[in-house]
Amino acid sequence: MASIDASDVHKLVVACDAGMGSSVMLASTLKKQLKGMPVTVEHTPVDRIPSDADLILVHQGLADRARATGPERVVVPFQLFIGDPAVASVVATLKNGGRIDG
């Protein structure tokens, strides 16, 4: 069970199957929400998540593939591309501090 402290998150990666559609959309939403925070937000295909990613957001249906890229990585799965409580919780924790469990 990997987890990470909010202050250690420097790179957040949103992953989807191709890294061209839904992940771009969610990443641009998160970029706006995390504006001014010392966190880079990137989007990639789920099979090519960069090794320096501290926190990975991925749809539940692709979570196993994201976890397969490294067992120690913090992968937060979500269900909805809009208004998902898991995503909202991550944003809140990043802003206010605390631990994020993957």
Partner: protein, 389 residues
Amino acid sequence: MTAYTPVVEGTGFKAAVQRLGGYLAGMVMPNIGAFIAWGIITALFIPTGWLPNAKYAALVSPIIKYLLPVLIGYTGGRLVHGQRGAVIGTVATMGVVVGAEVPMLLGAMIVGPLAAYILKRSDALLAGRVKVGFEMLVDNFSLGILGAGIAVLGVWVIGPVINHATDTLGHGVKYLLEHHLLALSSILIEPAKVLFLNNAINHGVLGPLGVAEAAKHGKSILFMLESNPGPGLGILTAYFFFGPRRLRPTVPAAAIIHFLGGIHEIYFPYVLMKPRLILAAIAGGASGIAVFSATGVGLVATPSPGSIFAYMAETARGNYFGVLLGIAVSAAVSFGVGSMLLGLGRKEAEEPSTEDLAEAQQRSADNKASSKVAAASAAPASAAPAAAS
């Protein structure tokens, strides 16, 4: 794993299929822009196009026969073995392209990565054994010799085999079309789609076959089997009126992103949360295909993303009525069936329909550090879609 991360069923197999499919799609999707350029040129300048012009139409054949397969072979090779893989992928692709009668997209998807894999093994074998100063010589000639060999093998064996396979698949599609059975493909396509195999199916399988058909007839129905935005729109609309109340506010933004933006992934969660809605997607998809097939319409290239705008831009000349009708019918059918399956909103109270979502919310309540802020931040999170759309 906690309640927060619900176990996905059949994980190993599903993930493996997704990965293979993602791989196939990964060779095609970065190059979709080139396919669209080809589609535009074709739609404009071929004899049945908007501005028939023999001089510009001369672009059509070399692009589809050489450029697009080579691009795919390049991308496939690069996925396996970086820039060297990309280079040998293009050389190998030329082998299957030359002498083939059909556009060799499937061939490129096989030999590009295969050649790169062979080079990767050879590079690993040679690593550390090359004398100082001879690295460049060995690197260039190992790639050159292997590439030449694979290209010759491509012309000789691989090309004809793939040519035959593409032909056989094409005949199979023709048979299904002639017997009005193509609509049945929705039974496979729609469930696979919401399991995130959408790109694999559309770009990995249907697209390459569609391009082969479009090169011959100027258009193909195969581009529309997976990418029709109608069924998703119908399901989202049904959700808006009859879905769980808590989710309804998210639906309009999702519908815009889906139908206009063409990101179909956005409606998959709504189906996954109420799996019986897959029947609505199948019914809508099948009726759409039935209309496309009955009116004999097609697109000139892969509409990617599957947005209504991409559809309108790539509809073959004179096919607008059938295409629009098919999309409208599939949306209406999915909406009708979906509304029924959602019990027209009545059963909602008895059903713990959003278990997973509730679990997720439960988890964020447990997370002491952020419990209060999570609730407070629900507002900015739901405001975000407006920005995204």
